[in-house]
């Protein structure tokens, strides 16, 4: 430790740089980082400047200071666009940001940043050896965004027991989910939950609106059955369909004037 402090205070640039490299080799990233930080302005315009910059970003990465490492990898890429390390820096920036991505139920700002950094990387270095890794990380992150959106939509469905106002909210939110993630694996469940919410919404509605809303259940069910003929929710959905059909029939008796079941989206 005494040795380290001596070097830190020393004015000898070459000795300091050598020490920084050796601390880096020994995986003492905090010490290596502190030395490099001191050295950086003095190395400007010297041949060691490029490598020092690159290693400095890595010391932050190894200390799990991902926001800082991302910042330094980006600035490395901007300062030395022609460097042999530029590709690695671009990938490491994206990787740093993806490490910052929090769990699904929190703000996903970092996830979005990481995803756009990955896209940028893939666009610029389509032949990169890091491509497989980048694709894998990208899939994980986009999966996260999808799960978050589904959880939020489902949250409205969960609250329907508490307040019937949420039935309509659930229908709208689940539909929004389908529009945003048309190929999601959760769409099957979302479609079923939407039928359930719409059925209850119709059931809780005033009589003058019921017919129209039950018909909506029937139309939703028809789309659902076409899309997921072997769905595990099929039996329950079928039940809601029959109940809606009966309700429409009953309502039809009271007001025979209103005739055909039109599909009004």
């Amino acid at each position: 430790c005494g040795q380290y402090n001596k070097i830190l205070k020393s004015d000898d640039v070459d000795k300091k740089y050598a020490a920084a490299l050796s601390y880096y080799e020994k995986e003492e990233y905090e010490k290596a980082g502190a030395l490099l930080e001191d050295l950086m302005p003095l190395l400007k315009g010297r041949s060691e400047y490029e490598r020092a910059n690159f290693l400095y970003a890595y010391t932050k990465y190894h200390q799990q200071l991902y926001l800082e490492s991302s910042f330094h990898f980006i600035s490395f890429g901007q300062t030395f666009p022609r460097s042999q390390f530029a590709e690695e820096a671009a990938f490491m920036n994206a990787k740093s940001l993806s490490n910052e991505s929090p769990s699904v139920n929190l703000d996903q700002q970092s996830t979005a940043q990481a995803m756009s950094a990955l896209q940028e990387f893939m666009r610029r270095y389509p032949q990169s050896k890091y491509m497989a890794d980048a694709n894998k990380i990208y899939d994980e992150l986009s999966r996260k965004i999808e799960v978050k959106a589904f959880d939020s939509a489902k949250q409205y469905y969960k609250l329907t027991n508490y307040d019937p106002q949420y039935y309509k909210a659930a229908v709208v939110a689940l539909e929004n989910f389908r529009k945003s993630f048309p190929s999601s694996v959760y769409n099957e469940e979302a479609a079923y939950l939407r039928i359930d919410a719409q059925y209850n919404y119709a059931r809780e509605s005033i009589e003058s609106k019921q017919r129209e809303r039950y018909l909506e259940v029937i139309s939703m069910y028809q789309t659902y059955v076409d899309a997921y003929p072997n769905s595990k929710f099929l039996r329950d959905a079928e039940r809601l369909y029959s109940l809606s059909r009966e309700a429409v029939e009953k309502l039809g008796k009271n007001q025979p004037a209103a005739a055909t079941a039109t599909n009004n989206q």
């Binding site: 010297r46 400047y49 490029e50 139920n105 229908v171």
Partner: protein, 836 residues
Amino acid sequence: QIRLGVGSNAATSVDYANPKKYEIGGITVSGAKFLDPTTLVSLTGLKVGDEIDVPGDAISSAIQKLWDQGILGGVDVRATKIEGNKIFLDFFLTERPRLSRFDFTGATKAQAEDLQKQISLNKGRVVTDALLNSTRTTVQKFFQDKGYLNAQVVIRQTPDSVIANSVALDIRVDKGEKVRIGELDIERLNPVNEVKGGLGSLISGIWKEEEEGFSETKLKRQLKKTKEKKFYKVFTGAKFNRTEYEADKKLLIDFYNKEGYRDAVIVSDSIYKMSEDRIGIKIVVDEGRRYYYRNITWSGNYLYDDAMLARVLGLEKGDVYNREELDKRLNYNPSGNDITSLYMDDGYLFFQIEPVEVAVEGDSIDIEMRLSEGSQATVNSITVAGNTKTSDHVILRELRTLPGQNFSRSALIRSQRELSNLGYFDPEKIGMEPVPNPENGTVDIRYTVEERPNDQITLSGGWGGGLGAVGTVGLVLNNFSLRKATNFKEWRPVPSGDGQRLALNIQANGKRYQSYSLSFTEPWLGGRRPNSLTVSLSKSIQRFNQRDEFSQIQESFIDISGASVNLGRRLRWPDDYFTLSNSLSYFRYNMSNGSTIFRGYAEADKIRDANNVSFITSFARSSIDNPTYTRSGSSIGLNVTFTPPYSLFKSTVNNFQWIEFHKWMFDASWFHSLSGNGKLVLNTRAHFGFIGTYSSKGEIGPFERFKLGGSGLGGGSFIVATDYIGLRGYEDESITPNGAGGIAFNKYVAELRYPVSLNPAATVFVLGFAEAGNNFGNYREYDPFKLYRSVGVGARVFMAAFGLLGFDYGWGLDTVPGLPGANGGQFHFIIGQQIR
């Protein structure tokens, strides 16, 4: 400095009008003595073999990149050779000295530190003229803002011998005299008297003062930051600050506009030197005349009729014309109704209203309100951002704007209130942004929040309670997550984000007094309904040593263990501010020599062990706007505790083996803001409590009684099965009819609060209070108007990490019989938010 030209020995020329593609044949760097050429070339971003346009972007960006490093004084690019389509570039660099260090002379140490933050002198940077100039200007402005209008700054450069090619800067400041405003003069140009026969004359009787115009003192008061120095104005700095002065001139005009003088302008203003340290200001205002509303008409309204809109607007013919007030009543009125919310609460998001002055005659203005109602918008998607700790579902379940509903501004504001009441977010930074999609008539709402710490840790040592030293360790986690507790990765530093509450408290003083408590609350049991579940466990042991009448040391102890389960529910009827909670609790008391514990209650000696099974139901309504500094709303609660009526089944039941009683507590608190800015708040409270038995022969035991007086923290011999109620201005527990405690109390409080700081990290407010209360030993003596009164002042500090702390100085006005010193001036320390 930047030239792309023909080198002295090159025979080719570059045609600037026709950019041509070249391949770089070579890059050289010249002129650099201290810098490494290879690195400089790599910094340019150019490589041999690159195809570039000459002239073109590639070279200018190369120059920019070198320049951005801040280590060069000049960059000059030349084409040394052009062979066919190959170009050879040379970067001729001028190196400039770098900054090695800088010092201030003529500035104090504190000023130098502030200046260092403002100026952009980084060590190692190249010293350029632009850098020196901007530094000089920044330093000069810094002192001018402090009132040194004549400050002079000179920067001297000296070569630094330690590091080659570097200079040291000495920034010399001559502050000069501090300049203050010696005189401030506001002259009114042709003050117009009211025109006879106009609308103004109808009400001129009321506005007598203004008829003669405003006094100069009143006008000077409108200049908030620009004040003149007078010998009697001890606290007036009378500094002159240009930006503040400009803002003050605007305030003066705003004041005139507010009073109906909508034509008022500042015709001229001059600043002149009186002496070395005094300047004078003269402002000339042309007031113009005062205007009044005449006819207000409406157009474009299909939903509401004119009469309805006029009622909401609340302006009458003859009212003084005030554009600011008009805008408030049209667009957003925080303290009442406005036209826009009438529409916006019903989904008319695209509603617009424009007041147009259709006629100005004399002092009367006719206004036509042109409305565009637009169509109703439904909410489409809701997003939340900024929650780095709190889970989405905890936030979503609080929001009142639901997808599929009509857009409503009041639902938006209610959502903000609900989020703020969670306590997890900075209330000043909760953002709500409706993003309309006019093509399909929907609106997306984006909420943004900023997390703030709200866990509390208490580590305290105290002296008191007749126990000597007492140590406390407390931990309250207000946004705990039990679900995440199993995953150590989610601990940062504790598992959090699910809105659960975990409280742990340990208090001990060696063998004599120990108390442990643990409670856990899940506000949304099962996540589907706002039904809360609270489980709490507690245990306390107290040992007493007291001399009896024969001077024998009597040892006694009381050991209480308890557990309780509480289920709470938010109600939607009578309105959704109501909550109902039910709990079942069990306490077991184990004790000896009870009469020394419950002093004055001799029969307590017979009690060895006692059991208390009780059912508590509480019905409450709370609509307070902000829990830390409340400005409006009220909270009312009725809390009833009862045990099974054992005595009705068994005639010879031991009174205390199974304790029986019923207890009623009622608390009400109202908040009203009294000042226009909502800062001065009046809080009025009333509290009542009663304990009774089931049969007329029944006896109320020593447990669960009331002790009144002091801070209400249980200062004396603190006993768990007792309710301590504060009454400032009297000693702790001094108003207690017998040793064991009273069975009926009432208390009334009026408190005026004013905030010193509303910073969410530390909210501070001061208060003045008047209160009165009494505590009765039996119902024959009960009289709600026989009270012990007190008045006093105090302060409270709310810090996110420690909760609420405060002290009060109260003066008890009535003497307590038998306790001559119990009233009069008393200091009280307050820890935690108190209900009663």
